[in-house]
């Protein structure tokens, strides 16, 4: 019993460590690639003023790496390390919520130059606009949750 319990706790602790490492690596990737610099993000989105396409390569590179790893993991395993199954989105329909939500997100991204990940990184770094953005983003998320519940 004790052995099992200890192994369970160790397993839990390790799973948390892996998630934290993934988060830290994700954050470091955003920072290194320039995604945490709103001026560069806006320079990428705004093609009319000396377009800076470098962030497209960041996204493209991440897509290629993730696509290869994703396939390899799905082929080699039936479940992840710390869960009984993979949790994949199952919806395939294109509905109004997807379109309206994505359209709104783009407007907010183009307006502030921050999306959720870089916003959190900027907030943690002590950037005033980053902290304000994250606080406002949480309010926006809560508003959506409340409106969806009706």
């Amino acid at each position: 019993m004790t052995v099992v319990a200890t192994r369970g706790r160790r397993h839990d602790a390790l799973s948390v460590v892996v998630a934290a490492v993934a988060g830290a690596l994700f954050g470091a990737g955003l920072i290194v690639s320039g995604m945490a610099q709103p001026a560069r993000v806006i320079g990428f989105l705004d093609v009319s003023r000396g377009w800076d396409p470098s962030l497209a390569f960041v996204m493209g590179g991440a897509v290629v790496i993730y696509a290869l790893a994703f396939r390899w993991i799905r082929r080699g395993r039936t479940a992840p390390w710390f869960d009984g199954r993979f949790h994949l989105p199952t919806r395939a329909d294109i509905d109004g919520s997807l379109l309206a939500g994505a359209a709104l997100f783009g407007i907010g991204w183009g307006l502030g130059g921050l999306c959720p990940g870089p916003g959190l990184v900027a907030a943690a770094s002590g950037a005033t606009t980053g902290m304000a953005f994250v606080a406002a983003m949480v309010v926006g998320m809560l508003l959506q949750h409340l409106s969806a519940r009706r």
Partner: protein
Amino acid sequence: MIGTAGALLFLGHGRIAGISGVLGSLLPPRPAPDRAWRLAFLGGLLAAGVGAAMIAPAAIGESVRSLPIVIVAGVIVGFGTRLGSGCTSGHGVCGLSRMSIRSLVAVATFMTTGALTAWIAGAVS
């Protein structure tokens, strides 16, 4: 690094590394029961920001827009990412990699409105 980090989360927890989903699912009124990995992942993300502020502060910038505009942008991003089930990471990186049609449509939509908004906001400011 971003792709590897997403893959590590998938290998470890079988979850999609979408920041708006990881964060949003912690919020009321119906928070997800699986809080530990979400908090750990977000903690790692925040730690990267704290670390960068100490060793490479120039790598993280303030928004080029005024504070009220950033606050409006934040509310719109929060609302939109939850309504549209994802942001740059979930739809952009993970969704496109999985060849999800929903994500492809979402990315095309937010890149278009993002480009238009950045152009208009740049023109008026």
